[in-house]
Symmetry: C2
């Protein structure tokens, strides 16, 4: 929510309605859904929407319930109902005209905008009138055609990018009108602030005089970055980057329509210097030159991806005016050339939570010379810009439900909202989910087992194990979701006990006769469960298997995570059963089976329909800040709204961790 | 004057007192003086200070008269009386404590700053209390030691540079205090805004941890440009540049003391592409590559000068954090790489009046990586940043006297203030003053005649002509001031009539017997006056002489100028005799003999004591914007306060021009 939005009495700037634009009118209870319902689903009386007012928009017929005092414009925007506006609801453009059925105060701006007759029949500026009681709102057809785009977890975002273009036909100067070129342009573009780049000032006199004073002003936020000959308003692009430790994904967006034009991904070229955040930080501590090298490699990755999406989308790089970068704190620091060492050692301190707007050239990107890079801010050394992007994309700050956000990975970021407050933490889950420290572990690539189903008592041992394998090829190993599935199934059928130990052979033969022959020992006698035999006579060690130590690794990982969310629940005075939605985020979380996650205790024991794969929310959040200045403000506001809870500081962490090692009964 | 300064009732933000800090108490009338008196000298009753109030400052005993309503802090600042302050009088630092003898309202800030007893005995914050009646003001000894520096035409400037340093000793982070490095620094530097450059963010974590968290924050305006290990507050420099068409002058300033450390000048390296503004603009119109070349040459000039002053002053370039650039509109455009063509052809339009703050690197300057360049804004295509700097340095906006500012040159800039309003214009004087189009003309270099005195009736023809020659060498030619002197003297002695024609030989013999033998003819019979014969038998053409056509050139030049100021006088409803001070500015104006300037009608016919050489006011103004943010705001405010009058637009210009060709009777 924007900071300048008047919030309801209780929590300033919080508790507003979420997305849910696709829902139609009325209330809706329960059910699995990515879209955010406009009224609360279950929960406390406040969350039920007590004290809210209902706005019904015509001609769409859509109804929304919002806290009293919210402006009609914001209520519409939050719900994906497009109201004309070029200033974004700041009371300056006077375009957001709506007609209300009920009485509403008349402001000075209204008086300047409407005739007395119009005022009498209920016309007001939507950004200045507050919803104080139930009312119907007539929204005229759009003139400036704001568009909405569905992004993230069912969020509808009204397009209002920082990148704006205005085509103007200027009067030519004369001795009677010696206004400077810039003043002339500013007078014509009266709804935007134009603070010129030197580059734009260099182009201005030349372009004006070579195109009969018919030009397009290109503005990024408040910077005039260029003046283009003729009308180029239809060409306006930006690139959203999800800067992952392993994989980097770039999406080229058409800012006029809000749609992706091209997507490309590649391995982060920093990989050779370390598979994860900690090894890369270590590299910089061991070798003075490593930071420069890592920065170079990050930038090479970005350059290659940006070239690829531009080529694929048929877009000139000079038509890309903005880049958004969402990465964890370490990836962000490395890409910007900032020493990450303080992130890697206690007390885990960032150089800065927020970053200045950079030039694309600072990152070596050959886009428009004035192109800017907006870097998603971070909440802590281990809750980075990727997570802020994820919170934005999943509407963590705009939903009145109790929601738990879990981005599963080597470092697991967790956020919990009770609809008023948001708390967040990071749990050191270790490499188990990415295949590290797991005997047959591998990344989620071709040949990785990602789904495991066991039939312990069926008649045919040959079909007692069903495996889902990426690429539908011969299984080669076990990726994170397969690991969780395998352990979860072994617990379910009774081959693993609640403490995580393989049961004795005689118990195995009794509880799971069809699977008993898969219990084996390898090497020093460690017990394993064979998932796949490449040939009938292959020894267990040559098979895809799960070992006792693998189970322990997973237990450590899931205990770290569940300790995290259980502490957050406590922080907000909640119990697990009150959680109304769990969002599993990130490249790993999105593939996880909700049932297995519940079974091993990775997430609270809830009906599986409440557990939702959120997808690549980091990338979606990066898109959102490009598509909407309002969302960008919202991302910054999260820095103030979210409380970071440091786990390593807690005396009771180890006790709790041990408590969480066992699997739920 | 700052825009945020509460002005007197009549002209907002105008009419405040000027400098004059060196004057001692009481009023002072008339007399030649560069310092600006605090009360009006002659003129209208308003200019006499009617309705003003007198503030007497203790312990200095200084009295100043200011318009009622001005804050005590501003009244002191304008008069060079240092009052403690770190916020510059904006009501935030609560350091500007003064004790007043009379009653004064108590603000909420006062209540938070002083005890009841202190309030009772008259203590108030100087920036919040307004002068409404005569009062005595006790100023405590300084704690933060603001210093004042005398700059420009007797202006006292309180040092408050945009470049600020703060030494801080930070507490080290812990798990209980995980503030980011930037937040930690911001919390410690609470009187400045710190918006970090990427460079500063890169340095921050490293420098903090390598210097025990004892660092100096380097701030330029609101940008955090660096964090330096230990206490470097004593090292703070900037370079002021007067970017002339002919000569470029750089002054290295110590911002801690306000004093110049080194000065260097050199010919503008653009010279080979054209001696003046118009030929350089033409060069860019004839050759597409010329603009890039001219920009390169301007930057080479700046680089060489900056290197020279740093070397001479023993200052590391990395200790220079800011550069101020004052040049005419064309020199500024060329240095910044902006096409100057629209400046050179009607309707004479600038790309922009004001320029964004640039990085020194944008101009190729290897100073501190975060060093900024502030470019003085321009009032019109022919009243550039050099003139804005000159107005600042001469206090045109802070003086209640009627003052005329004339920067004599190829393009002559003229400004007139009546104490309330300022009007300005540019007159195309042509190259006469720079030796161009004058038969024996030369630049003001060794061998140039700069002073001419004639004794028409003395006994000895050998001593009838006294010449002042630059470098005390054999005369080689005539520079601008020598030209004005020569013509003025020839008019005085009667060898030139009022229309500018040499008198017939018989008249010459009668009115100036000692000089008659110097009247000669050359080439096609043109009449000349011989100023210096290299040998007794040298023909007139081989002598340093002044020709009839030379006189005509000067007449054209001075007529353009006097048409300019006479139109400005008319614009403000004044007559010439009301002008209380004429400031002759620029490298030429400063050498001009006031008497000769009056005699030929270049300036109004006033007592010579009212005609003052102002020196290199462009360079002084550039220094002022480096030494004082208040003055920098004042420079920008001039864009709003000054009205530009376009001469080429006036139907009556030619008539008036012809009227002005003759010399005054």
């Amino acid at each position: 929510m924007d900071r300048d939005t008047p919030g309801p009495g209780g929590g300033p700037g919080r508790g507003g309605p979420g997305g849910g634009g696709r829902r139609g009118r009325g209330r809706r209870r329960g059910g699995r859904g990515l879209g955010v319902s406009v009224t609360a689903v279950g929960g406390t009386p406040e969350a039920e929407g007590a004290g809210r007012v209902t706005l019904t928009f015509a001609p769409s017929g859509r109804s929304v319930r919002v806290p009293p005092g919210v402006s009609v414009f914001d209520a519409a925007s939050w719900n994906g109902i497009a109201v004309d506006s070029t200033c974004g609801g700041h009371g300056t453009c006077r375009k957001c005209r709506v007609r209300l059925t009920g009485p509403a105060p008349v402001t000075a701006h209204d008086e300047r905008t409407f005739t007395a007759e119009e005022l009498g029949s209920g016309w007001r500026l939507a950004c200045l009138v507050r919803a104080t009681e139930d009312v119907e709102v007539e929204v005229p057809p759009l003139v400036t055609r704001p568009k909405a785009s569905t992004v993230g977890v069912g969020r509808q975002v009204i397009l209002h990018p920082a990148v704006q273009k205005r085509y103007v036909e200027l009067t030519e100067p004369s001795l009677a009108d010696q206004r400077t070129d810039l003043a002339r342009l500013r007078d014509a573009v009266d709804d935007l602030v134009l603070e010129p780049d030197l580059y734009a000032l260099r182009r201005l006199p030349v372009v004006l005089r070579h195109s009969d004073f018919k030009v397009t002003a290109v503005v990024v936020d408040e910077a005039l970055v260029d003046v283009e000959p003729g009308d180029t308003t239809g060409r306006r692009h930006a690139v959203a980057v999800d800067l992952g430790t392993t994989t980097v994904v770039a999406t080229l967006l058409d800012l006029g329509t809000g749609t992706p034009v091209a997507v490309a991904s590649m391995l982060n070229r920093q990989q050779p210097l370390g598979a994860d955040v900690i090894t890369r930080i270590s590299a910089t501590m061991l070798d003075r030159r490593a930071l420069a090298r890592l920065t170079e490699l990050a930038q090479e990755t970005l350059v290659a991806l940006v070239e690829e999406v531009c080529a694929e989308g048929g877009v000139e790089p000079a038509e890309v005016y903005e880049v958004a970068l969402a990465g964890n704190a370490t990836m962000t620091a490395l890409a910007l050339g900032v020493d990450p060492e303080p992130l890697g050692v206690a007390p885990f301190v960032q150089a800065s939570a927020d970053w200045p707007v950079l030039r694309a050239a600072d990152l070596g990107l050959a886009l428009h010379p004035g192109a800017r890079v907006v870097v998603l801010p971070a909440l802590g050394a281990y809750v980075g810009g990727d997570i802020v992007a994820g919170m934005l994309a999943s509407g963590m700050d705009r939903d009145s439900r109790v929601r738990l956000f879990v981005d599963v990975g080597t470092n697991c970021e967790i956020a919990l909202s009770d609809g008023e407050r948001i708390v967040t933490t990071a749990a050191p889950a270790g490499p188990a989910f990415e295949g590290g420290a797991i005997r047959c572990g591998m990344r989620a690539a071709d040949g990785a087992v990602e789904v495991v189903r066991l039939d312990a008592t069926g008649p045919d041992p040959a079909t007692a194990v069903s495996l889902g394998v990426i690429g539908d090829v011969e299984p080669r190993g076990l990726c994170g979701s397969g690991l969780v599935d395998a352990v979860s199934e072994l617990v379910r059928v009774g081959l693993l006990d609640a403490s995580g130990r393989f049961v004795p052979d005689e118990v195995a033969a009794s509880v799971a006769p069809a699977l008993a022959d898969r219990m084996a020992r390898v090497g020093d006698g460690e017990r394993v469960f064979v998932l796949h035999r490449p040939s009938a006579d292959a020894p267990a060690a040559a098979c895809v298997h799960l070992s006792q130590r693998d189970v322990r690794e997973l237990q450590f990982a899931k205990a770290a995570i569940s300790t995290g969310w259980s502490l957050l629940l406590e922080e907000l005075g909640l119990v697990a059963s009150q959680v109304q939605q769990v969002l599993l985020a990130g490249s790993f979380g999105s593939y996880l089976s909700p049932a297995s996650a519940v079974r091993i205790g990775l997430v609270p024991a809830l009906p599986v329909l409440r557990i939702v794969s959120a997808g690549n929310v980091a990338g979606e959040g990066a898109k959102m800040v490009l598509l909407s200045q309002r969302e960008r403000t919202g991302a910054r506001a999260l820095l103030e709204e979210v409380t970071y809870v440091e786990l390593s500081d807690r005396a009771d962490f180890n006790d709790r961790f041990v408590d969480q090692l066992a699997f739920p009964p």
